[in-house]
């Protein structure tokens, strides 16, 4: 088992009332699985993903990655988890505008203590996602689809156990959405474990397994 989520709950206070953004979510995924969580905007899917990645603290519940509880981690352990074990692709544009493509891809390598030079691997990842010719370009010179590919290459630089993508096609056109999902599909074929959230059913069609999020609760697709 790669990931196990048990009784995950997140309660927010809005004004004087409390509401559950995530309500007792339980699910698990194995290695090499390609899972999508589908739901309408505001259903809680991004919150769930952020809790799994350790970006939001849950009100209760547990998240086990390779059998290790991630929610009790201190800042250093949690940061290492995000850096080495999880490749997180945030929603929207998240590459750094002052760095060129290759530096954006190499960046996570330098955020933990490592030896060696990630340049060669960064180039091969850029080749893998089909934009090696843009290695020295800056984000302002890239299209939305190209930027998403940089995100994916960056998320893969430290060979994570789990790739998490939050609405990876959120602001892409139909053709670019298809190309991006084909890329995820081929990564999955190569053995990557992928968990993504989307509000587009046609995106989830690429995944081998789909979970549905509704009002903070998670359901397995029949």
């Amino acid at each position: 088992m790669l990931l196990e989520v048990n009784g995950l709950t997140k309660v927010y206070k809005r004004g004087s009332t409390f509401f559950k953004a995530i309500d007792q979510v339980n699910f698990s995924m194995d290695r090499k699985e390609f899972v999508s969580i589908v739901g309408r905007s505001g259903s809680g899917k991004s919150t769930l993903l952020n809790m799994i990645a350790g970006l939001i603290k849950p009100s209760e519940g547990s998240v086990l990655l390779e059998g290790k509880e991630t929610l009790n981690c201190n800042d250093t352990e949690g940061s290492y988890l995000r850096n080495a074990k999880i490749g997180f692709i945030p929603q929207g544009q998240s590459i750094l505008s002052n760095f060129n493509v290759i530096d954006n891809v190499r960046l996570p390598f330098f955020l933990s203590k490592r030896t060696g030079d990630p340049t060669e691997r960064a180039f091969s990842l850029l080749e893998r996602v089909g934009i090696s010719h843009l290695a020295c370009s800056y984000p302002s010179q890239l299209s939305g689809g190209e930027m998403k590919r940089v995100d994916i290459a960056r998320a893969l630089i430290n060979s994570p156990d789990l790739l998490i993508a939050d609405e990876p096609t959120g602001n892409l056109d139909l053709q670019t959405t298809r190309e991006t999902m084909q890329l995820f599909d081929s990564l999955s074929e190569e053995g990557a474990s992928i968990l993504l959230v989307t509000h587009e059913p046609e995106v989830s069609a690429y995944c081998k397994r789909t979970l549905i999020m509704k009002d903070g609760k998670l359901y397995e697709e029949k």
């Binding site: 970006l55 939001i56 603290k57 800042d75 250093t76 940061s79 080495a84 998240s94 996570p108 955020l111």
Partner: protein, 343 residues
Amino acid sequence: MIVPDGNKTDIEGALLRGEPGAFYFEKKTEDIISGVEGVSKISSQFFISSLSTGCCSFPIQLIGYDPKTDFVIAPWISRQLKGKLEDGQLVVGSQIDAAAGGALKFFGHKYRVVTKIEETGMGFDTSVFMNYATARQILDSARQIGVRFKFEGSDLISAVMIKTDRGVEPADLGDKILDRLELEGIKADVVIPQNITSSAAESIRKFIIYIRIFSVTLWLLALILLTVVFTFSIHERKKEIAVLRILGATRKKLLQLIFGEAAMISAGGAISGVLLAGVVIFLYNTYIGMKLGMPYMLPQPEIIALIAAASLLLTFGIGPVASSYSAYTIGRNEIHVTMREGE
């Protein structure tokens, strides 16, 4: 020191700030003073003001003294001048552009410079010393080429230096001398060097207090301004910071980045500031001294180095201190909140 009536401020200006003065009374004044009870030693000096010479871009004070009776100048310059100051020889202040062995030209005649005295920060730096004979020679050459002086006659002196007998109060003796001179129809002023130096010291003390208040105010203003700048800058870069956190940067790493960046900015400012200050102070040293209107000299090189090091350190510290508030606020929020706020 006794000077002609109304020239108290002139002699102070000449001694402290190097403002040339030309005031005279008759030589017989010296003889009258020597007869007053309580006077131990007496020696007169003769001042000529030179408006321009080839050596300097500022007016200089020529001071003639009598080597036979002098107890003020000779002991002071004895460290640099071995032997007696002969006729036609000059001793020059530190700011006079002439070296030992060289010559200075006054009113068409050249005079040999035998030594240059160390910097004092006072009027002596822009003064030229000579014996009475040389001073009279310069005065005569000036008259020969048509320079007119307010005072005619050859038996003139500018100031009488007095050493009191042991136990005699300078102020009491001064009153006695003034009374005696008045009886002879000579009006004069008493100048007690101790009073001049203590008043100068008081001015310097006040000036230093202003400089310190100004420096502290400037430092605090810079701190406030940089705090605002860093806060805005961090606010603008919330998304970038959130991305770094998502990619696995620890809080400690982020703080290192923020403080490191602030320290680099401060270091750049500190180094360029100290270099600029150094260039201005060394290039305009004389001009600053003249404009300050008080005794002024550059400190020893080791003191300058110490001041530069302290300034560097204080300025260098301002960036990290100013960025600490924004660094603190960054660590407080959940990463996804920071990401959202940055979008």
